[in-house]
């Protein structure tokens, strides 16, 4: 009988959290085996074609798939062994893990430490007809368009206005589909307003206080019915809309994928802010089961940057526990990662998650009585999230520190930053060659435009992952103003041609002339379009109608 293989660290799941853990543990000398059930590593990163938020250390402003490539390179240079198409079936015996490789071969393995990075599972939403072909999870549609390059349909209804729903709606448009609408059961948009802004400028309506009532069709979806909801989330009779649609995408959040953790005997608790039941963990990311660490969406649904940093933290914790890092060094590294994680969880969007994470740490130490302290923090922090049902008015935008004053606008080209929610993101600061944009002291603070330093050069436009920066040139000519904005659709408009200028909600405002299409390489596929229009539209027009490719 062949001797059973024993590894120092088994990392399960090769998404950002698992890669982060494997990379860091290897860096300090731990022998790591990273397994994933798919035939490619990277988890969901390779289908993320948008530019990520975050700060420099998170490679903010880089597209998700490029971050994925970067991580794979890092894993490779650290000598991480990756076994793909490898499913963990469970633990057969004490400490013995059974793996199923390529559906055909069973392997048994021992591991001194385990990092579970099993990610999240998309939540379901049931409605009559949700079993019809054409109804699918938003993540499934994203795989089709961005990995397989096949459209799931041509007229799509998105259910859910969280960041995932908004981003995938945008990507469906980029892939050439029509998104007939986004329905949101809550009374306001739940994702970032900048993501909502992208799809709204493209003319996609967002129906808040609405849900899908039914999908109808014979062999697949042919039409969908949406209905308005009252304050108690009950359908309001008579307020219904029927759309012709061939596809419904469900994007109503994720649950931590806790099956393996549960099997391993980790203690779970319910944290609705983080997606539901999840394993408790301490500040080393160790679960209640000694030697089993968790990271990423499994330890609470967040986003890729936090997952990566939690993974890295779990990796150094494992290395320290195996004696590869001395305690002083470990304490310093750990503090750095917590600092980064706390920054990502700063601001009103991260507030609830941040509190829930604190509760997890306390419960894992069985310090139940300190819950009261948490309640105090909750009350003290005055970071209330401002909710929006739709894109706010111009007047509201003008109140924020990124919007130039009227007098400055009249002086000539100037950036106009329409980023009005405190989200963890700052690539615009580094992009500006004149240091005219500041975000401080926290990465979640709003960008402040120093309008006297700004020369209106426009390199910030493509740097903004939220596509919320525009350049306004009031003095383009004696009659016309010029407006520059980011544009990521095909085909591109032709210089000298005409287009329909639209406002922030995608409503047509006026005919405009295309004066520049800037596709320079360091804009990384975000074209910057400049249009000329009547001066009176300087605060209104923010994009153009997409050009239909009928060829």
């Amino acid at each position: 009988m062949e001797r059973m293989r024993e590894v120092e660290l088994l990392v399960i799941g090769a998404g950002p959290a698992g890669l982060g853990a494997a990379i860091e543990a290897s860096r300090y000398g731990v022998k790591v085996l990273l397994v994933d059930d798919k035939d490619k590593p990277g988890g969901q990163l390779f289908k993320q074609i948008h530019k990520f938020f975050g700060s420099k250390e998170h490679l903010a402003g880089t597209r998700g798939f490029d971050i994925g490539l970067h991580l794979l390179k890092e894993a490779d240079s650290q000598g991480v062994e990756i076994s793909l198409q490898t499913k963990v079936l469970g633990t057969m015996d004490k400490d013995v893990i059974s793996l199923l490789v390529k559906e055909r071969e069973m392997k048994l393995l021992k591991a001194k430490r385990i990092v579970l990075a099993t990610g999240g599972i998309e939540k379901a939403l049931s409605f009559p007809g949700w079993n019809l072909p054409g109804v699918m999870s938003a993540g499934a549609a994203q795989t089709l368009i961005n990995i397989e390059r096949v459209l799931p349909g041509e007229r799509i209804l998105m259910v859910g206005s969280g960041n995932v729903g908004l981003i995938i709606s945008y990507q469906l448009l980029q892939a050439g589909a029509d998104v007939v609408g986004i329905v949101e059961a809550g009374s306001s948009i739940t994702g970032y307003l900048v993501h909502a802004g992208k799809v709204m400028r493209a003319g996609v309506p967002i129906y808040t206080s609405h849900t899908i009532k039914e999908a109808r069709g014979g062999k697949s979806v042919e039409e969908v019915v949406i209905t308005a909801l009252d304050r108690r989330w009950n359908p309001i009779k008579g307020i219904e809309k029927t759309f012709s649609a061939d596809t419904v995408c469900i994007s109503v959040g994720l649950n931590p994928n806790g099956q393996l953790a549960s099997l391993a005997g980790c203690e779970f608790k319910f944290f609705p802010e983080l997606g539901g039941f999840l394993p408790l963990h301490d500040d080393n990311m160790e679960s209640t089961k000694k030697g089993i660490y968790i990271a990423g969406d499994l330890s609470g649904i967040e986003e890729a940057n936090s997952a990566l940093d939690e993974g890295r933290l779990a990796g150094i914790s494992v290395a320290a526990s195996l004696g590869y890092i001395d305690s002083n060094r470990f304490a310093k590294l750990k503090e750095d990662y917590w600092d980064r994680l706390n920054k990502l969880r700063g601001g009103p969007f991260g507030h609830k998650r941040s509190i829930a994470k604190k509760k997890i740490l306390l419960s894992s130490q069985q310090k139940e009585m300190r819950y009261q302290e948490i309640d105090c923090i909750e009350l003290e922090e005055n970071t209330k999230l401002k909710n929006y049902k739709s894109i706010p008015s111009l007047k509201e935008f003008q109140e924020f520190p990124g919007y130039p004053s009227l007098s400055r606008i009249k002086k000539g080209a100037v950036a106009c930053i329409e980023c009005i929610q405190e989200i963890p993101c700052d690539p615009c600061v580094a992009a500006c060659p004149f240091k005219a944009i500041n975000i401080n002291p926290y990465i979640t603070d709003l960008p402040y435009l120093d309008e006297n330093k700004c020369k209106g050069c426009g390199v910030c436009i493509a740097s903004c992952p939220g596509q919320a920066i525009f350049v306004l040139n009031y003095n383009y000519s004696s009659e016309k103003a010029a407006i520059s904005f980011p544009y990521e659709y095909l085909p591109y408009p032709k210089i000298g041609g005409k287009a329909v200028g639209v406002n922030r909600k995608g409503e047509p405002v006026a005919e405009v002339k295309i004066v520049k299409v800037d596709k320079r390489a360091n804009f990384d596929k975000t074209a910057v379009i400049t249009i000329a229009c009547d001066k009176k539209y300087i605060n209104q027009i923010r994009s153009i109608e997409r050009i239909k490719d009928d060829a």
Binding site: M1, D37, K87, V88, L89, G90, T91, M92, S98, L100, E103, R104, E105, M106, L108, I121, K123, A124, L125, S126, F127, P128, G129, W130, N131, N255, G258, Q259, L260, S262, L263, K269, F270, P272, G276, F277
Partner: protein
């Protein structure tokens, strides 16, 4: 398996694998099966190939709505290996070898 009302209840399936309808889940709850585990045993919801990965949160919502129980008190069903379907021949091969 309750057959009454089947025509209407076809309209809203909760467990996609076993095709268990919302009405069947509600009927089981009315009969007193108020945990995810007991509903699974009563109706087969969550017993299919996906092992409740899709429907268990939906069932939790229905239980919470009908019984007034808090969602955090409605525990997921216990997990048993193997986590993924494995052909018996593959399992058998290993057992023989070791």
């Amino acid at each position: 398996m309750p057959k009454d009302n089947e025509k209407n209840s076809i309209k809203k399936i909760i467990c996609r694998c076993e095709e268990i309808t919302e009405e069947e889940i509600r009927e089981a709850i009315r009969e007193g099966y108020t945990t995810i585990k007991s509903i699974k045993r009563r109706t087969r919801a969550g017993m299919g190939l996906c092992q409740g990965r899709t429907c268990s949160t939906l069932i939790r919502d229905i239980i919470a709505e009908m019984t007034g129980d808090k969602k955090e008190d409605i525990l997921p069903d216990s997990v048993r290996p193997p986590l993924y379907p494995v052909e018996l021949s593959v399992l058998g091969k290993k057992v023989n070898k070791e």
